[in-house]
């Protein structure tokens, strides 16, 4: 199924002459909306102009200008590029911006993240708590004047390392003196973590009386963060009515390392290996997203051969990721480990190819701005062809035969954890989660990047939006990826693999750019602001598994507690990306 991309460029300043002005800063695009009219403009955009999917919200701290900006990206699920608009507020606490949760419920977690990291108060947000840091944490770490515990300098490379460096180990460097901050009046002896109360306060508890006049209470159950079925350090807090889930809130941040702050300390190139660590099961997709975002800013082309290599690698990544995702989902559904091991075998063969090409099995660090790091070694293309033409199609069919008709999979999957198409769009879901609900939205088609417009492939869509359909969508996607690899591997041209000479210090002109790719988990977006210096001013990751979790709570309501695990498995999250 193809979705034609409408090529209408929206002029918000003529649609809303009183509210919107064009962003005229050098290298910027989009529109600046007056803060108090944000909700009106967003409602109008959604209802009249079809921008029904709010994909990314992020803050930018323009510290020297005393300005705090919140940047929104919306798109139309029938295709087309993203539209970006922003609101600006004076950078003086309290910074207040109206919440968009009433218009786009998918904004919930992202606004909480901005409150957490930037300290922007979203008025009208139903549950504005910290999400990645803990309740009681002092300060907002993404602000430019906030410094971390082992702070050395604002930007890498650090002067101490070169030329007259000295060997210092991190644990010797900071004696808990000058750059750790505590809340005022902080006394560790008397400190009680109040975050838990805030969390439980957010879960609506209620008593009810049944027909016999017996008053009963419901209970709160915590799952994780140390629980083998949560795929990492992920925690779920659920209110149960008997065995039925009445309300559910995910709790995350246990793996938070402030990837974005690290990214702003790094130079543009230094950041590439860090993107591997986001979604560590599909590092090449992360490389892809970051590379095309910075290339957009730098305005450089990628040679033909490099584009083909990129597509082959990204699609192999998708297959290996889905192998892992489906294997873990089967584990969660009770088919313990046999199908996972069968799928890991195929993943293993793909990782062998990654190792031969990029040097590493998981942390590939292979893409460079304007190409890829090195050419395919001799014999690798034959290996890829062998997998794509002979082995993988057979193996995908085998898994289909193995699992699709299994009665247990079907009874635990069909009509469980259902999310309708409207809700999936509303909660900003992307990727297989959105497509399993019947929305044929795939960025490779809707807003093509790289050379995906040259290949013949179908978008995998299913209608019911339940666990089983999410499994089937992933299976179909693997088949389509194999098709893409077959075409790309047969038609890959000879030639250069990088534009210009490899440089360790790239010049990136000032401006902003938002690049997005269809990662195996959903829309992976990078928002980068450059000031022309060697380091990005702002580096934001629109993490698909984080935002897909917004729909997790609503999906679970009314299900049994045992389905929490199955539904989470069907969303396919990776905590490296959720917590960043």
């Amino acid at each position: 199924m193809t979705t034609p991309a409408p090529s209408i460029t929206f002029d918000l300043s003529s649609l809303f002459p009183d509210y919107a002005t064009a962003d005229t800063r050098e290298g910027y695009s989009g529109w600046i909306i007056k803060t108090n009219h944000l909700v009106d403009v967003a409602t109008e955009l959604r209802d009249t102009y079809g921008f029904d999917h709010l994909t990314s919200i992020t803050g930018v701290d323009y510290f020297p200008e005393e300005l705090m900006e919140v940047v929104y990206h919306v798109f139309n699920t029938t295709g087309g590029p993203v539209l970006n608009f922003k609101v600006q507020a004076v950078r003086k606490d309290p910074i207040e911006v109206p919440s968009l949760v009433s218009v786009y419920p998918g904004a919930e977690f992202q606004e909480r993240e901005i409150w957490d990291l930037f300290g922007v108060v979203f008025t009208g947000h139903p549950d504005l708590r910290r999400i990645l840091m803990w309740e009681g944490f002092a300060g907002h770490p993404m602000r430019k004047d906030w410094k971390e515990a082992y702070f050395e300098e604002d930007n890498k490379p650090f002067k101490s390392r070169w030329p007259e460096g000295r060997i210092v180990q991190a644990e010797d460097e900071n004696k808990f003196s000058d750059n750790i901050s505590y809340p005022s009046n902080f006394d560790p002896e008397k400190w009680i973590p109040e975050g838990e109360n805030a969390l439980y306060g957010a879960l609506a508890r209620y008593d009810y009386t049944n027909d016999d006049g017996i008053t009963s209470d419901n209970i709160v159950v915590n799952l994780g963060p140390q629980h083998p079925s949560t795929h990492g350090v992920f925690r779920v807090s659920a209110v149960l009515d008997g065995e039925i889930i009445a309300q559910l809130k995910p709790v995350m941040g246990y793996l938070h390392r402030n990837h974005e702050k690290i990214g702003e300390r790094n130079t543009f190139l230094q950041n590439m290996p860090y993107t591997d660590r986001l979604d560590y099961l599909s590092s090449l997709s992360n490389n892809f997203g970051y590379a095309i975002t910075v290339e957009k800013l730098m305005n450089i082309e990628v040679p033909e051969r490099a584009e083909y290599i990129r597509v082959i690698m990204a699609e192999l990544t998708r297959i290996s990721n889905h192998c892992m995702a489906l294997g873990a989902l089967f584990n969660d559904l009770g088919t313990f480990f046999t199908p996972l091991i069968y799928l890991l075998e195929e993943r293993e063969l793909i990782l062998d190819i990654f190792e031969a090409v990029t040097g590493s099995r998981m942390m590939c660090n292979y893409f460079r701005f304007g190409g890829v790091a090195r050419d395919l070694p001799e014999g690798t293309l034959e290996k890829i062809k062998g997998l794509a033409f002979e082995r993988l199609p057979r193996k995908v069919d085998e898994i289909d035969r193995f699992m699709s008709e299994n009665e247990i999979i079907r009874s635990r999957g069909i009509n469980q954890g259902v999310i309708s198409a409207e809700d999936a769009i509303k909660y900003s879901a992307t990727g297989p989660l959105l497509r399993a609900s019947g929305v044929p939205y795939d960025i490779r088609r809707a807003d093509p990047y790289s050379i995906y417009d040259r290949f013949d492939f179908d978008i995998a869509v299913r209608k019911n939006g339940d666990i089983y359909d999410r499994y089937m969508v992933r299976l179909d996607e693997m088949r389509q990826s194999i098709r893409i690899i077959q075409q790309a591997a047969s038609s890959i041209p000879e030639g250069e693999i990088q534009t210009g000479k490899p440089q360790y210090q790239v010049r990136v002109p000032a401006g902003e750019s938002y690049g997005r790719v269809e990662s195996p988990k959903g829309e992976l977006g990078f928002y980068v602001v450059s000031t022309g210096k060697p380091n990005p001013w702002r580096y934001h990751v629109r993490a698909p598994s984080f935002i897909n979790l917004t729909a997790y709570g609503p999906m679970c309501v009314g299900q049994k507690i045992a389905d929490i695990v199955a539904i989470l498995g069907s969303i396919d999250i990776v905590l490296g990306e959720v917590d960043r």
């Binding site: 030329p163 060997i167 950041n271 062998d352 190792e355 660090n365 193995f402 699709s404 008709e405």
Partner: protein, 201 residues
């Protein structure tokens, strides 16, 4: 019939089970602990059980495999170790987690810097094995190793002595790359000599 799907799935498992034994018989005596057996098990034709019995068996590392950098030195005629590093510091600048420290040698008489590292440290516990240092070194002096068995009781802060490895070792682990780099360096030297000869004429 209820349970048909499960039976169909179990058929797949049984086929796998039988395949393992069939493959064992076909590769009798060669499937395990032999390089060709390991190569077969990690090829597209692999069937049945595919586990590599580490540490008795090891997967061969491909040429591009990278793990912790090392410093290459050329062996002189009298066995002296001529280190290629000029302590220019590009590796320390490009290193994403900033785990490289370099001190330049100074000539004790003149006090001028000499293009040789006096000290060179890599904090291997911080190193993320990204390979950028090796990729951007203009002198082919720092390269990524293949030795991945690094378990130790203390922190791995590697100094110049730990990091030095001969060019012959580099050639052994990366034959294709090292030959290409040698050729490129040779061409550069020849071009420089030709230019010098021209100037002298």
């Amino acid at each position: 019939m209820y349970g048909k799907g499960i039976l169909k799935g179990l058929g797949v498992t049984i086929k796998r089970f039988i395949d393992t034994y069939l493959d064992d018989i076909r590769w009798l005596g060669k499937r395990y602990y032999k390089p060709e057996g390991i190569a077969h098990r990690s090829s597209k034709d692999s069937r049945g059980i595919f586990t590599i019995q580490y540490p008795e068996e090891k997967l061969p590392s491909p040429e591009e495999f990278r793990f912790i950098p090392f410093l290459v030195y050329d062996e002189g005629e009298k066995g002296e170790e001529i280190i290629r590093c000029t302590s220019c510091g590009i590796c320390a600048k490009v290193c994403p987690p900033q785990c490289i420290w370099i001190t330049r040698t100074t000539n004790p008489e003149t006090g001028r810097p000499v293009p040789d590292p006096a000290e060179f440290y890599i904090d291997a516990d911080i190193c993320m094995n990204c390979g950028l240092c090796a990729e951007y070194c203009p002198f082919d002096a720092i390269k990524m190793d293949h030795d991945y068995e690094l378990a130790s009781y203390s922190r791995n802060v590697l100094n110049l002595q730990d990091l030095k490895k001969p060019a012959s070792y580099y050639e052994m682990i990366r034959p294709i790359n090292s030959t290409a780099e040698d050729k490129a360096r040779q061409a550069k030297v020849e071009a420089r000599e030709a230019a010098a000869a021209k100037r002298n004429e």
